[in-house]
C-alpha cells in the first residue's frame, strides 16, 4: 500500500508548467527518490505535497485521504514533514527549541494552562523535553541542545533539521537535497543516516537528490523529472541505464556514447 499517491498533478506558474501531469507514489516503509536537473520541478512538487502551493490539476492522496487544498499546518498534523534544500532552521533559537517547535503538532497544552502552570502543561513539557533530548541524541547532537541553531556547524544543522522534522512523528519524511554542500565523507555518513532512519523508525522517505551515488545507494525506486515531466521510473539500475535519463543529465552526445 502506498503512503503517498500523487495522481496527474499539474502545477503552473503563469505560462510555465513546473509540474506536468505527474503521477507518482511512495510505498510504506520505503525510500523513494526524485532526481532531475535543476529546475525540473522537484522542489515544486515537494511544495505541492506539503501544501505551500495549491495544485492546478490532479490529486494528492496521503494515507488514502486527499490532501489537496489543505494548508501546510494541517498537512503536517496529518503526518508529513520536510526539510529544506537551503537549511531553514529557526536561527535565533536553540537546538532543543527547534526540535520542540517541530514537536508542536503533538502537543495539546493551552497557553492559559502555561500561565497557571497546570499539571497537564508541566507533564507535557517535561515529556516533550525528554523526547527532544532523545531525538537530539538520535541525530548525534547530544549535549548541543543549548547551542543556538545558527552557531552549529553545517553538518549538525542538516541533522538538526532532520530531527526537527522527525519530532512531529511523521509517517512520511520529505528530504530536499540532504547532502547538498557536503564533502564525500559527510555525504556517506548522511546516506547511512537516512537508511538508519527508515530502519529504526519505519517511516517512508521521499528524497530529492542531485548526488547520484546517494540516490543509487539507498533508494528502492527512482523517478526522474525533467521540465516538470516524468521521463523515467524504476529501480536505480534501470534508471541509470535509461538513455533518456542520460540525455537529460549529460546532453544528447553523451547518450550516444553509452
Amino acid at each position: 500500500m502506498s503512503i503517498l499517491d500523487a495522481r496527474n498533478v499539474t502545477k503552473r506558474f503563469g505560462g510555465l508548467v513546473a509540474v506536468n501531469d505527474f503521477s507518482f507514489h511512495v510505498p510504506e516503509r520505503s525510500i523513494v527518490s526524485i532526481i532531475g536537473p535543476n529546475g525540473a520541478g522537484k522542489t515544486t512538487f515537494f511544495n505541492c505535497v506539503t501544501g505551500f502551493y495549491e495544485i492546478d490539476e490532479g490529486e494528492i492522496l496521503f494515507d488514502g485521504m486527499s490532501i489537496s487544498g489543505k494548508s501546510p499546518d494541517q498537512i503536517t498534523q496529518l503526518g508529513i514533514s520536510r526539510t529544506y534544500q537551503n537549511i531553514r532552521l529557526f536561527a535565533q533559537m536553540s537546538a532543543i527549541e527547534n526540535i520542540l517547535v517541530g514537536m508542536d503538532p503533538r502537543l495539546t497544552s493551552h497557553w492559559v494552562g502555561a500561565v497557571f502552570g497546570t499539571q497537564h502543561t508541566r507533564m507535557e513539557e517535561q515529556q516533550a523535553l525528554h523526547d527532544s533530548t532523545e531525538l537530539l541524541r538520535f541525530v548525534r547532537l547530544r549535549g548541543k541542545g543549548d547551542h543556538l541553531a545558527s552557531s552549529l556547524p553545517y553538518g549538525d544543522q542538516r541533522r538538526l533539521e532532520i530531527a526537527r522534522a522527525l519530532a512531529s512523528k511523521p509517517k512520511l519524511l520529505l528530504l530536499d537535497e540532504p547532502t547538498a554542500g557536503m564533502n564525500p565523507r559527510e555525504t556517506a555518513q548522511t546516506t547511512d543516516f537516512i537508511k538508519l532512519l527508515r530502519d529504526e523508525l519505519g517511516i517512508a522517505i521521499l528524497l530529492i537528490e542531485h548526488d547520484m551515488r546517494v540516490v543509487m545507494n539507498i533508494s528502492e525506486r527512482v523517478t526522474v523529472l525533467d521540465y516538470g515531466q516524468m521521463i523515467a521510473e524504476g529501480t536505480p539500475e534501470e534508471v541509470q541505464n535509461n538513455p533518456e535519463v542520460i540525455e537529460a543529465y549529460l546532453g544528447r552526445g553523451a547518450a550516444a556514447h553509452v
Binding site: 517547535v101 502543561t121 565523507r185
Partner: protein, 584 residues
C-alpha cells in the same frame, strides 16, 4: 602599524570636534551647564564637551599596540587637539562676527563664557585647547596603562560622575533620612562637593581594584561548586530582598521620585506588552499607543463623574472591561493585517494608531469622549473606604500590574505558545510547515500585547483623573519601541532597564527633556553599533554573544555508527562526487 596614521587621527579628532561644536551651537552645552556634577568644578555641559576629546583620543589611538607608548600618546594628543579646533572656531566666529546670533540663535554670550572658562576669548581659547588636547592624551592613555589599573580608574570616574549627575535626586532621598546637616557636608547647592567626589572616586576605584584582584568570578565559582544548596538559598535570598526593596521603595524615595517611578512603571507595562508583539512574535507594531488610548478611554467613559460618564461603576469593575475592550481591539487590528509582514505591517499599524488619535480628537465622537477637551473627573481606585490618590498608593497598583504582565510573559516565553511566536518570528513559512496555526498565533500575540497596554492605559487614566487625546500620540509608540530595543529585544529585564534609561532619566533630569529625541536618536545609533543586543540581552542573545558552539569535534557515538568513515577517502567516493551533475 609602525607609523602614526595622521589621516585617521585627524579624521576622528575633527569628527569629534564637529560633534562637540554642534552640540554647543544647538544650546545643549549651555542647558546642561546648569547642572553641576561637582559644585563649582565640573558641570554636565563641560563633561559633554570634554567627552568628545577623550573619546577621540581613545578611538584614534586604538590602532597602536600597547608597546608603542610614545606613538599612542602622540596620536591621542593630535586627536584631542583637533577635536578642540571646531569648538575654537565657534569661539573665534563669535569674536569676529558678533551678529552670528541672528543665524545661530543658541550661540549666546553665556555659551562662549562656558567654552572659554570665563577668561575671555584669547586666554580662554588657549586654555580650552590645552584642556581638550590633554584629555585626548588621557583617552589614549587607556591603551597604555594595563587594564588592571585603568579599569578601576574608569569605573571610579564614571560612577563619580553618575553620582554627581544624580546628586539632586540623592539629596531629596537622603535629606529626610540623615538630616540636612549631613547632606550639606556631602553636597553643594546642586552637585557633589569636591571632597565628596574625591572620596567617592577613591573608594570606588580602590574597592573595584581590590575586588577584581581577588578574582570575583573565581570566588563565585568556588562558592557554587562547594554547595549548590547554599547557592540556591542565596538566590532565594536575593529574590526576597528584591521584593522587599520593591515594596518599601516608595517610602524611601518620597513623593516626587515615586511619581517618576509610576510613569516608568506604566511604560514598563506597555513595554512588556509590546515585547510580546515585537520581541517574541516579531510583528513590528508602530501603533501600539492605540491600545493604551483605548484602555484609558474605556476607563474614562465608564467611571467619569462628569456628564460624559456612562456608568457609575467602580475602578475595579471598569478595569477588566477596559482590558477586554483593548484585547478585542487587538483582535480587530490583527485580523486585517494577518497576511502582512515586516514593513507593511509597520505602516498599517502606524495608521491604526493615528486613526485612534484622530477619532479621539474628532467632532464626530465629541459627544461621547469629549473631543480635544478630553474626559475629566475619572474615578480613583477605592479599596473599602480608602481611596488611592497619592503616587505612593498608585505605585503598588502599577507594581502589581507589571508583576502580572512580567509573570505572564515569562511563563509564556518558556511555553508552547512562546516557542510558536519565536518560530514565527524566525521564519513564518517554516513555522507553518511545522504545524503552527499562524492566524491563531498572531492574533494571540496582538491580543495579549494589547491587553497589557490597555491595562496601562486604564491605570493611567485613573491616576491623572483626566485624559486628553494629545497624550496618545505617536511618540508614545516610539518611546515604547525604543525602550525595548535599548533594553534588549525579547528580554524581560531589558524592558525594565530600557524604561529606566529612556523614561526615568529624562524625567529626573529636566534639561534632558528638550533634547530627548536627539538623545534617543544618538543612543539608538550607538546601541546598534556597539551593543545591538541591548543593555540586558535575552538569554538566547547572551548565549550567542558568548559564542557557544565553537567546538566542532565529532562525537564518539558518530564513530561507532560510521566505522567506514575512518578509512581514507575511497576512490569510489571520489568518482561519485564527480558524477554529481549540475549540482546546486
Amino acid at each position: 602599524m609602525s607609523r602614526i596614521d595622521l589621516r585617521n587621527a585627524a579624521k576622528i579628532g575633527l569628527m569629534a570636534g564637529v560633534a562637540a561644536a554642534s552640540v554647543s551651537a544647538i544650546g545643549m552645552v549651555q542647558t546642561f551647564d546648569e547642572r553641576d556634577l561637582i559644585t563649582n568644578v565640573l558641570t554636565l555641559g563641560q563633561v559633554l564637551l570634554f567627552a568628545a576629546s577623550v573619546l577621540a583620543g581613545y578611538q584614534a589611538a586604538q590602532q597602536h599596540t600597547a608597546a608603542e607608548r610614545g606613538r599612542t600618546l602622540l596620536t591621542g594628543l593630535i586627536a584631542g587637539f583637533l577635536a578642540a579646533l571646531p569648538v575654537l572656531g565657534l569661539v573665534l566666529l563669535t569674536a569676529l562676527f558678533p551678529n552670528i546670533r541672528t543665524k545661530l540663535v543658541n550661540v549666546s554670550a553665556t555659551l562662549i563664557q562656558i567654552l572659554t572658562f570665563g577668561l575671555g576669548p584669547s586666554l580662554g581659547s588657549l586654555l580650552l585647547a590645552a584642556v581638550m588636547t590633554l584629555l585626548g592624551v588621557g583617552g589614549s592613555l587607556i591603551h597604555v596603562i594595563p587594564s588592571r589599573i585603568s579599569r578601576p580608574i574608569i569605573i571610579g570616574l564614571v560612577s563619580t560622575l553618575v553620582l554627581g549627575l544624580l546628586s539632586e535626586v540623592l539629596l531629596g532621598v537622603l535629606r529626610p533620612l540623615v538630616g540636612s546637616q549631613v547632606t550639606g557636608l556631602l553636597f553643594g547647592t546642586k552637585g557633589l562637593r569636591l571632597v565628596t567626589a574625591a572620596v567617592v572616586f577613591l573608594l570606588i576605584t580602590s574597592g573595584y581594584w581590590w575586588w577584581s584582584a581577588r578574582g570575583e568570578e573565581d570566588m563565585q565559582l568556588r562558592l557554587q561548586a562547594q554547595n549548590p544548596e547554599r547557592a540556591q538559598r542565596m538566590r532565594t535570598m536575593r529574590v526576597v530582598v528584591g521584593i522587599v526593596l520593591l515594596l518599601i521603595l516608595p517610602f524611601i524615595l518620597g513623593t516626587y521620585l515615586t511619581e517618576v517611578l509610576d510613569i516608568v512603571g506604566l511604560f514598563i507595562l506597555m513595554g512588556l506588552g509590546l515585547n510580546i508583539v515585537v520581541g517574541y512574535a516579531g510583528l513590528l507594531d508602530l501603533g501600539y499607543v492605540a491600545f493604551f488610548a483605548i484602555g484609558a478611554y474605556v476607563m474614562g467613559i465608564l467611571t467619569s463623574q462628569s456628564a460624559l460618564g456612562l456608568t457609575d461603576i467602580s475602578f475595579w469593575m471598569a478595569l477588566p472591561i477596559a482590558v477586554i475592550v483593548s484585547v478585542v481591539a487587538g483582535l480587530v487590528l490583527g485580523t486585517p493585517v494577518l497576511r502582512m509582514r515586516g514593513d507593511y505591517l509597520a505602516i498599517v499599524t502606524l495608521g491604526f494608531g493615528e486613526i485612534i488619535r484622530v477619532l479621539a480628537t474628532s467632532d464626530l465622537l465629541k459627544p461621547y469622549i469629549g473631543g480635544a477637551q478630553g474626559i475629566l473627573q475619572i474615578r480613583k481606585p477605592q479599596i473599602g473606604s480608602f481611596q488611592l490618590v497619592q503616587p505612593e498608593e498608585f505605585y503598588f497598583l502599577i507594581l502589581a500590574g507589571c508583576a502580572l504582565a512580567a509573570f505572564v510573559s515569562w511563563r509564556l516565553s518558556d511555553a508552547r505558545l512562546g516557542r510558536q511566536w519565536m518560530a514565527m518570528r524566525e521564519d513564518e513559512d517554516v513555522a507553518e510547515a511545522m504545524g503552527i496555526h499562524l492566524v491563531k498565533t498572531k492574533l494571540l500575540a496582538f491580543a495579549i500585547g494589547a491587553g497589557f497596554s490597555g491595562l496601562a492605559g486604564a491605570i493611567f487614566a485613573s491616576r491623572l483623573s483626566s485624559i486628553f487625546p494629545h497624550s496618545f500620540n505617536l511618540l508614545i509608540s516610539i518611546n515604547v519601541l525604543s525602550l525595548i530595543i535599548v533594553g534588549g529585544i525579547g528580554s524581560l529585564p531589558g524592558v525594565v532597564v530600557g524604561a529606566l534609561v529612556l523614561v526615568g532619566l529624562p524625567e529626573l533630569l529636566r534639561e534632558f527633556a528638550e533634547y530627548r529625541l536627539l538623545m534617543y536618536g544618538a543612543l539608538l545609533i550607538v546601541m546598534m553599533i556597539r551593543k545591538p543586543a541591548g543593555l540586558w540581552p535575552s538569554a538566547v542573545q547572551q548565549r550567542e554573544l558568548e559564542g557557544v558552539g565553537e567546538e566542532t569535534d565529532t562525537f564518539p557515538s558518530e564513530r561507532a555508527l560510521h566505522p567506514e568513515t575512518h578509512e581514507p577517502m575511497s576512490e569510489q567516493v571520489v568518482e561519485a562526487s564527480t558524477t554529481t551533475v549540475r549540482g546546486s
